[in-house]
Amino acid sequence: MAKTRRIKVNESGPISVVTFNDSKIIDEAEIQELGQELYDLVERDGRKKIVLNFANVEFLSSAALGKLIGFDKRVKQHSAELVLSNIRPEIYEVFAITKLTKLFDIKDDEADALAVL
């Protein structure tokens, strides 16, 4: 897999567990990079089961939410599966305010996310 700057990918069997290198996902240029790195996971690398672990994320802007939605679309287009995990309460609130809790499968921790994939 190509080197990534915004994410780290670890394999847990057939499941790719993605963590974020940036604790604050707010810089527009970095968000563009993040989006491309996520899209590459399904479009270029053919990954079918993905966990996005948000443990390191302290802040994210609506532009970052937009990239996550774009990623989710690509996941669905490629018949892959995506689960989000380890979202701290203040970040979960952002998902709740924007009703994105209806769009994404969100689990409390990585173990729960791995168990459903």
Partner: protein, 144 residues
Amino acid sequence: MAEHDWSWTVRTSFPSRLGAHDDCMREVMANLEQLGWTGRDLFAVQMALAESLTNAIRHGNRNDESKLVQVECRASPERFWMRVEDEGVGFRPEKVPDCTTDENLQRCGGRGLTLIKAYMTTVQYNDRGNCVTMERIRTAEPAP
């Protein structure tokens, strides 16, 4: 704006280029932390700042670097107040589609105003729609 004993104020402007607002954001957040703002209150202001400043750059001034975004902030241990003005033609906030409906849920944009409204105590737009004023009254007890 009601009379209030503000501890810190700033008035600044920057060109309409994404990233040009970073220094302003850093200064505001650093001053709020010095005034004892923490947790959800601090998060709320950061969200409102990020969304309103990028809206002004991207939507208000259409990323035209020749146009400025004017920002005025005031802060105390209890309150944060901000005014953001762009040089654009303005917009009607009530015309912005609701990002939380099922039909709009998968749109990649359009969430900034919802987030600003959720996190700030008051949000007001001028008639033209190129200037937003907002305030957050801190919910946590200020440190003695």
